[in-house]
């Protein structure tokens, strides 16, 4: 029979261990309640899967803590993992409900609404007329475009710069006491005030499908969209990492709507429909004085014979002109040098 003292000691030890575990979990920025990092913190955690692909299962906690999903528990996405060690988990379904409560509706959070948007968009598997599209396997799902994005906080004090403004945080602390809450809220809001990806990165995401010649051909698309974007001034600036320049989403999504509501340029509701697209260019942040003419030609024309015949002929003309001017010039120069260096040489000259 245990004495009272012994029982009290065991209870204290248990409470101490529980307390340590709790403090340890609380200190961890991520919501690793299931202690998944016990294994997944090791950089070498990997294997070759059934399809022969090398899979890395390492989770970099520092990076994950800076991601927009840092407060989401691992098992909220990996719902089929119920025990440790676990079996091969299913692929994550982004439309499941997670434990996060959406503050305006006070409902459990889910990306389900996005599924509705996506289904009605140009990337949905069913056409607007109700008939299923060809090659549905080519159409994107969440993870074809999204990874786990990192916060990109901005400071607006005195001047706009990347990062967190301690001055702003200080103002938050006047009313809000939890630093962790302030930090998350600041990150969430300021990240949402601009783009999480730069224009080059966004074009690269779209290019995965829209620059794939096979896919372009299969879906009868008129151009390689990201490639032709790269040939424009916008694309050039994007490749120089200019963030002010419009990317694919700025022109293909109606202002105020989600990028998942993107419509075909043949849809009269679409911002890229022929009678609507002038509004894109004339946007207050872009070319506010733009005439409707600015958008009246193929925006994505590649400068080849099929898509930009006039530009193609201008290009050919100038190549011929450059050759036609420079080659005779260089010929005369060559003869001039020869004559000056070898004054007595000649076809019928006798010294």
């Amino acid at each position: 029979m245990l004495t009272y003292q012994t029982r009290r000691s065991i209870l204290l030890l248990f409470l101490l261990l529980f307390g340590m575990a709790f403090v340890s979990a609380a200190n961890s920025e991520s919501a690793d309640v299931g202690n998944c990092l016990l294994c997944h913190k090791y950089p070498g955690l990997s294997r070759v899967d059934e399809e022969g692909r090398f899979r890395l299962f390492y989770v970099n906690e520092d990076i994950f803590d800076k991601s927009v999903h840092t407060r989401v528990k691992c098992e909220d996405c990996h719902t089929d993992i119920k025990k440790i060690p676990h079996d091969t988990p299913k692929k994550v379904d982004c439309f499941v409900q997670c434990h996060i409560v959406e503050p305006s509706s006070e409902q459990k959070f889910s990306h389900k609404e996005v599924a509705k948007f996506l289904a009605a968009s140009v990337h949905g598997e069913v056409a607007k007329q109700g008939n299923p599209k060809k090659h549905p396997e080519d159409l994107p799902s969440c993870k074809d475009c999204h990874d786990n994005p990192l916060y990109r906080p901005l400071s607006f004090f005195k001047r706009v710069r990347p990062g967190i403004s301690e001055t702003a945080m200080g103002r938050c602390r006047v009313c809000h006491k939890k630093d962790d809450f302030i930090f998350r809220f600041y990150n969430h809001v300021t990240t949402r005030l601009h783009k999480i990806r730069n224009p080059k990165n966004i074009a690269e995401v779209c290019a995965r499908c829209h620059d794939d010649p096979e896919l372009v051909k299969r879906h009868d698309l008129s151009t390689r969209a990201a490639y032709s974007y790269g040939e424009t001034f916008h694309g050039k600036a994007a490749h120089f990492l200019d963030e002010r320049i419009p990317d694919c989403l700025d022109c293909h999504v109606k202002r105020g709507e989600s990028v998942h509501q993107m419509l075909s340029h043949n849809d009269p509701q679409s911002i890229t429909y022929k009678t609507n697209k002038a509004k894109i260019c004339a946007n207050i942040e872009c070319h506010p004085k733009a005439s409707p003419k600015l958008a009246d030609y193929k925006i994505h024309a590649e400068f080849n014979f099929e898509q930009g015949t006039a530009q193609y002929y201008f290009k050919i003309f100038f190549i011929a002109l450059t050759g036609g001017v420079l080659l005779p010039m260089m010929g005369i120069m060559f003869l001039d040098v020869l004559r000056r260096l070898l004054p007595n040489a000649g076809l019928n000259r006798k010294k």
Binding site: Y297, F318, M329, I332
Partner: protein
């Protein structure tokens, strides 16, 4: 006219024509023309550098980070400033050609003539050694006239397409696309023509190398005048009015 080679050999032996008031020089560019050339040249070089910066490999610009953003902001400003100044100088040049006596002389001397075609053929025959003497050039030879014509055409094209791209909101994307192609391709042509042709013809060819300083001094000496522009030399020496315009004496 003596052969170029003979001119080389006799260069040291030939005594300069010394007038009682000193050695004489022949004006190739007057003060206004020198200033116009200087401004145009500075604008041209600035435009070439700031324009072709757009062709710098993206990886290099990306490595510059935020400094790259500042550099490219300055690039864009400088390109527009240089373009504007170049257009203004060109407009002034047109005014100069019409309203100034020296400008009218320039225009008259620069007009293409049948003789230029003959000179081109004669010059090629001379190069091939078929003819013993090169043609006698006047103030501007066929090479100068071709280059001047190319300069006018190039400046008009570049200014027009540059202004279209600068006022992109007024135009159709079709026009902007063509302007972009023409501006880029003409830039390559003009830069190569200047780098290959103008630098060789004016500065780097034997005898003138490494530089012909006439673009700074505005004058050439009598030897060079006799050798390069013999017809013009003869005309000047035969006409006191032309001597007043084109001859400068060392002591002046």
């Amino acid at each position: 006219m003596k052969d170029t080679a003979i001119a080389f050999q006799q260069e040291e032996e030939t005594s300069e024509t010394d007038s009682p008031t000193g050695k004489i020089y022949f004006v190739r560019l007057n003060y206004s023309e020198k200033v116009q050339h200087m401004i145009f040249m500075i604008c041209f070089v600035t435009l070439v550098i700031t324009g072709f910066m757009l062709k710098v490999p993206e990886g290099i610009v990306q490595k510059l980070g935020s400094a790259g953003e500042a550099v490219f902001l300055i690039r864009s400003l400088l390109h527009r400033i240089a373009g504007t100044v170049m257009i203004l100088v060109s407009v002034y040049h047109v005014y100069y050609l019409i309203f100034k006596p020296a400008g009218r002389r320039w225009l008259f001397d620069m007009l293409p003539r049948f003789k230029d075609l003959n000179d081109l053929v004669g010059n090629c025959l001379y190069y091939f050694g078929v003819k013993k003497e090169p043609p006698e050039f006047d103030r501007f030879c066929y090479k100068h006239k071709m280059e001047y014509g190319a300069l006018i055409a190039g400046t008009i094209l570049m200014a027009a397409t540059g202004l279209i791209m600068w006022t992109e909101y007024r135009w159709s994307k079709f026009i902007i696309d063509i302007a972009t192609v023409v501006h880029g391709m003409e830039a390559i042509l003009a830069s190569l023509a200047i780098m290959i042709w103008h630098l060789y013809e004016i500065h780097l060819k034997p005898r003138k190398s490494p530089i012909d300083d006439a673009w700074i001094t505005g004058v050439i000496d009598e030897e060079e005048m006799k050798e390069e522009y013999p017809l013009h030399y003869k005309k000047i020496m035969a006409d006191p009015k032309l001597q007043e315009i084109y001859i400068k004496r060392e002591t002046q």
